[in-house]
């Protein structure tokens, strides 16, 4: 086999293993759940993607020809990782509602509304907070 291809495949494997290990280490090491959520959902997904690309090259140059089934797994992981992260964050916010960050203050309106319609501004600021908190 061409040594350039072999070196590039080994480099892809090393990068993939590094990111997978960083994701799992962040899962163990970080302190809060919302900090821990960053490690596996981003770093591990990228690492598994690199390993799958290395597997495509390995089977194309050493095995039984070019197969694109790893592309399927990569696309599926890249689609489903943000969805599962979003659902896990919502589950954690349901269990601990005091972890939700504060809303921005409601009296920061655009300048045109604040300049010529103060009554409408108070009405808008009275109805604004708490609207998007409902599930």
């Amino acid at each position: 086999m061409n040594p350039l291809i072999e070196y590039s495949l080994v480099a892809l494997l090393a990068i993939g293993c590094f990111f997978v290990l960083v994701g799992s280490f962040g899962l163990v090491k970080l302190s809060d759940f919302f900090k821990r959520l960053h490690g596996p959902t981003k770093a591990s997904t990228l690492g598994v993607g690199c390993i799958l690309i290395a597997s495509i090259g390995y089977h194309a140059f050493l095995g039984d020809g070019l197969g694109l089934r790893e592309i399927l797994i990569t696309g599926f992981l890249f689609i489903t990782a943000p969805i599962s992260a979003h659902l896990m964050a919502r589950a954690a916010l349901t269990l601990a509602p005091d972890q939700r960050p504060l809303q921005p203050p409601a009296d920061q309106e655009p300048l045109t509304v604040a300049a010529d319609a103060p009554a409408a501004r108070t009405d808008a600021s009275a109805t604004k907070p708490g609207d998007d908190r409902q599930p």
Binding site: E6, L9, V10, L13, A14, G16, C17, V20, L21, G23, S24, F25, L27, V28, F33, R36, L37, P40, S44, T45, G47, V48, I51, L52, A54, S55, Y58, H59, L62, G63, D64, G67, R69, E70, L72, I73, F76, L77, T80, A81, I83, S84, L87, M88, R90, A91, A92, T94, L95, A96
Partner: protein, 89 residues
């Protein structure tokens, strides 16, 4: 050289699986355990792909694809259960 690299990568993925298993067993809250299980799924996909490269076999793609799909469905179901205390509404 790449065969040695595949074996070393299998060891590294095994270490990552042990770390996520530690979080699955010692997680202080329920979403931590769900996150540990999801990470274990992702690491298992990587381990299966590397094992297929080690054996020079292409039969492990289907197993990895099934684990990817069922892992996503399991994560969604567990999160929905924590959200609403009910799976089928």
């Amino acid at each position: 050289m790449i065969d040695i690299a595949v074996v070393v990568a299998l060891y590294v993925i095994g270490l990552a699986m042990l770390l996520s298993l530690w979080r699955l067993l010692r997680g202080p809250s329920v979403p931590d355990r769900i996150l540990g299980l999801d990470t274990l799924y992702v690491n298992t996909i990587a381990a299966l792909i590397l094992f297929g490269m080690h054996l020079k076999s292409s039969i492990y793609f289907e197993a990895a694809l099934v684990i990817a799909m069922l892992g996503f469905v399991g994560t969604v179901m567990l999160s929905k259960y924590v959200l609403r205390r009910d799976i089928v509404e």
